[in-house]
């Protein structure tokens, strides 16, 4: 008989990379949940009730109790649905490394990429590109197996999903070249493995929509600077 884990509700948006992280984890673990698609320009009462602090997606509500912040949610999901597709390593040191690299992606990689793509000032954009390449280099050196999690997808891979899917979309939308196969052979291959994983593929949004979104964002940045 299947174990009753209790009711799971998940609040996200199709476009949010952070919400997608949580969705990928839930789907990898085969968790049953009810999905609520939010309109961030018109946030639902439920979202504001469940995440009054940051008022953002993703929010996970398990047995009526809400959690926010994607990395916090991912660890919680891994603890509750532990036996299905574990995401974190067992050993404390490896755990610490996984947490470090996940934070690195949020604290260093993402801001650099956004600076490289969505800043009007050319100097700032170039600085962003430099910082992005530096950050990608660290990840390239860190990647030793098929995935950051080893043979299977782990916490860091899910955190890095931005680099596998959203970064290439940004590159196409604004005409940037950052994660190239000649500079980052392992990371580039990893990106393809990750996005082709059957569960991940099903969960990710439509690429054309995402490229379109970034094109529009880029256009508005350029327009605002004139």
């Amino acid at each position: 008989m299947a174990k009753d884990y209790g009711e799971v509700k998940f609040f996200g948006t199709v476009g949010s990379p952070f919400a997608k992280r949580v969705q990928i984890a839930l789907d990898l673990k085969g968790v049953q949940y009810t999905y609520f698609e939010e309109d961030l320009r018109n946030k639902s009462e439920l979202l504001l009730k469940y995440n009054p602090i940051h008022k953002k997606v993703p929010v996970l509500v398990h047995k009526g109790r809400p959690l926010a912040e994607s990395l916090v949610i991912l660890e919680y999901i891994d603890e509750i649905w532990g036996s299905n597709h574990p995401l974190l390593p067992q050993q404390p040191y490896d755990k610490a490394l996984a947490r470090f690299w996940s934070r690195f992606i949020d604290d260093k990689c993402l801001p650099a990429i956004l600076k490289a793509a969505f800043t009007a000032n050319k100097e700032e954009r170039e600085k962003g590109s430099e910082e992005s390449l530096e950050a990608l280099e660290y990840l390239e050196n860190e990647l030793k197996d098929k995935f950051f999690g080893g043979e299977s997808i782990g916490l860091v891979d899910i955190a890095a999903s931005y680099l596998a899917f959203w970064l290439p979309a940004i590159e196409e939308a604004v005409g940037l070249k950052l994660l190239t196969s000649d500079k980052f052979p392992k990371l580039h291959k990893w990106g393809q493995e990750f996005t082709n994983h059957p569960v991940v593929k099903k969960t990710l949004p439509q690429r054309e929509k995402v490229v379109g979104f970034f094109k529009a964002r880029y256009a508005s940045i350029i327009a605002a600077s004139k």
Partner: protein
């Protein structure tokens, strides 16, 4: 044969982040070597052990480095798990504890930084924001003895180390924490009654003097 743990902590005087790691080690009764860095002249060891951020604290356990104070404290709790748990035992409470330490890290220091580096309207806005952040943290505490409930835990460790910086915040911001957040001050005083905390947290006036010196140095460049 029993192997001896080699534990080194790279720290800097006055760092609320370094203090977190020290309190955690003290709570667990772990013997460690405390190395104080001069951040304007970082040691080769620090640069080797934390090449990405080049920041303290870094915990070096049997030669292997761990960076980022929240990650270090969780590591300490997981390795030395024989006594005094720091993280809650229930997954939901654990997640909430992680959420609030993340909140502290995202909000407190960056807002303080904004406040002391700005003037006029920007300064006032940052000051208001800083006070509202502490009011939120006070609300989160509620009527509990500690953030961990009856026991001193992860969020307590994460926030108490800012206590010695309150005088600095107050002086640069021209407000009184006790007036704005009396329950938070009461909580801090409870934490300070713990020996593991009081032996680590420095005097707030000394912190203020060090910050004044630092500002002078920055302004002279």
């Amino acid at each position: 044969a029993m192997s001896v743990d080699e534990v080194v902590l790279l720290d800097a005087w006055g760092s609320m982040f370094g203090m977190r790691a020290r309190i955690a080690l003290e709570e667990k009764g772990v013997k460690y070597e405390h190395k104080e860095e001069n951040l304007s002249n970082k040691s080769p060891l620090l640069l080797q052990m934390n090449p990405i951020y080049k920041q303290i604290p870094v915990l070096i356990h049997n030669g292997k480095p761990i960076s980022e104070s929240a990650i270090i404290v969780q590591y300490i709790d997981e390795v030395w798990n024989h006594n005094t748990p720091i993280l809650p035992s229930h997954p939901y409470e654990r997640a909430q504890a992680r959420f609030w330490v993340d909140y502290i890290d995202k909000k407190v220091y960056p807002t303080w930084n904004k406040m002391w580096r700005s003037e006029g309207e920007d300064h006032e806005a940052a000051k208001k924001e800083l006070i509202s952040i502490f009011k939120q943290l006070e609300e989160t505490l509620g009527d509990k003895i500690f953030y961990g409930g009856d026991t001193f835990g992860f969020v307590d460790v994460g926030l108490i180390t800012f206590y010695c910086w309150f005088y600095t915040f107050e002086t640069y911001g021209n407000f009184k924490m006790e007036a704005e957040c009396p329950k938070l001050i009461a909580w801090a005083k409870r934490c300070m009654q713990r020996e593991t905390v009081s032996k680590i947290i420095p005097d707030e006036k000394e912190v203020y003097n060090a910050v004044v010196e630092m500002k002078k140095e920055l302004e002279s460049k």
